[in-house]
Amino acid sequence: MLFAGICAALVLILIVLNVSIGLYKIGFLDSYRVLIDHLSGVVPDNLHDIREDHIIFNQRLPRAIAAACVGAVLAVSGAAMQSTLKNPLADPYTTGISSGASFGVCIFAVMGISLLPGLSGDYGMIANAFVFSLIPAAAIIVCSRVFSASPTSVILIGIAVMYVFSACTTLIKLYAEPEDLEVVYRWSLGNLGKATWDNIGYMAASCAIAVIFMTAAGRRLNILTMNDESVMSVGIDPKKERAIILAVVSLCTALAVSFTGTIGFVGLVIPHIIRIFMGSNNTFLIPASAFAGAVFLLAADSVAKVAGTYDLPVGVITSIVGGPVFLYILIRQRRRAW
């Protein structure tokens, strides 16, 4: 409970810090005041306060909440995938979500093909990313059920599907105009700038589903880390359970990253950092990863906003900052994490 309290407080502090950063200067304490005033129903009565309230509440807060939600989804999904597939290299994108989503974005940006014809602009791209991200995931889940695939086979099927989608994406990019390429490229690096109050609900929903479902499945995830005959001997069908976990992870990750682009590193490494400090019991690993993922992506996005005059992609920051930090923890670790 103490750990949860500390993490929740840290998330709140980082949200306030995140919303205080931007081209229009608003201090940390002022941001806190603006948020509290808004939430307690105090109506700003002068132009300066109205402007600050608008910037913080309508422009920056959705982005900060998106960072927390997407960070939590990616970290929880990564932890669940690693346990389910018994592989420390698994991450939320192991089912080919990123390659499918990239392909969806690519055919929208370059060829103007939208799966939902009524949608255009960002929403058309998001819808394409979401639908296409689920295609490789569905293929993997179906293949793994039909062919009774082992965890290693699931990963290999994922790699095969990923290569197919990546090749198709590359092929389309060869014929793309430079401005279209930029859209695809920026999306592939991950950016939280598209978060608004209109779409934050999707990311919050994916976060809630992922965290609640996987926390409830903590003990089952522990069992899935054993070999399949050990899993069956305690009454769990490992193939069915794997398919369910893969489906939930794929759906939640696809929903989250369709809005933000593929943000790497969080899903792969945050669970390992938590394992080093807290062990591999998924009952604790899952909620702790959720908090740590939220904290990490909020911090990374804050750095991205400070470092870039033109909004650096957060995916770049997660790797540049996170990589060395992870290496340091790895070298100093006293506990075997995998």
Binding site: R219, N227, S230, S233, V234, G235, S280, R336, W338
Partner: protein, 259 residues
């Protein structure tokens, strides 16, 4: 709870059978040791009993019900299984590992009761001091005791064990096998254990099943099964069998050279 194997055949493909028409009835509360050389289908046989493998032909009945029709979680309440290897991929503590065995009986809010049962079994096996150690850091012998604990917390009526004493020293082999023997007597659990130590099997088991060439070669009391002729035919060894404390004791003389 009686377990009946009725003409069970199994093979990963139809041309190469691993089990060929095995029939046997395991009676309630008895201790069975399954013996035989490597690769004769002992592990395959007990994996068919708890549905890890599905027989190509024949059926396994537990208390008269076909195991293929019993939901996996219900089956795990009745049949416990101690595999040869757990194949853990991430380091969990011994408590977390043993707690897995409570899955078939766990409900919302049952964690405290489940943990009490885990500690009770750890005490019973005298491995409470390992409770917070990482499972993957244990010695092979400790590893096997933890897996046995995981099987026991399932509170099964039938316990299947795949070489649970293979990595234990003589004293610990006897300790573990005696615990299994006591479970048979005190709780009426049917124990079916794959074992390579003929004398341990002879000392503690009620009945032995000697497998050879995909079939049951001999079955019966230790005195009926552990004969020089059977051992020569199945293992290709010459032996002398003496009686010790009312049980046969096998002394190996030499192995038969094959041309």
């Amino acid at each position: 709870m009686p377990v009946t194997a009725d003409s069970v055949s199994f093979g990963y493909n139809s041309r190469a059978l691993i089990l060929d028409g095995i029939s046997f009835e395991f009676q309630d509360g008895k201790f069975y040791a399954v013996l035989g050389p490597n690769g004769v289908g002992k592990s395959t046989f007990i994996r068919c009993i708890n549905r890890i493998l599905k027989p190509k032909e024949g059926s396994i009945l537990i208390d008269g019900k076909d195991v293929s029709e019993i939901p996996l979680k219900e089956l795990a309440k009745t049949v416990g299984y101690v595999p040869y290897s757990a194949g853990d991929s991430f380091p969990l503590t011994v408590v977390d590992t043993v707690l897995m065995g409570r899955h078939p009986r766990s409900r919302l809010g049952s964690l405290v009761k489940d943990l009490e049962k885990v500690h009770e079994v750890l005490d019973q096996l005298e491995i409470s001091d390992l409770a917070l150690r990482e499972f993957s850091s244990l010695s092979a012998g400790q590893h096997q005791k933890v897996m046995l604990a995981r099987g026991l917390v399932q509170e099964p009526e039938v316990l299947l064990l795949d070489e649970p004493t293979s990595n234990l020293d003589v004293r610990h082999q006897m300790e573990v096998t005696k615990i299994l023997r006591d479970l048979c007597v005190s709780k009426g659990i049917t124990v079916i254990m794959i074992c390579h130590d003929l004398n341990i099997a002879s000392k503690y088991a009620d009945e032995l099943i000697l497998m050879y060439d995909k079939k049951i070669f001999a079955r019966g009391t230790p005195a009926e099964v552990l004969t020089p002729d059977n051992l020569r035919a199945v293992y290709g060894v010459e032996s002398t069998v003496i009686e010790h404390n009312g049980r046969p004791c096998v002394m190996l003389d030499d192995f038969i050279k094959q041309d």
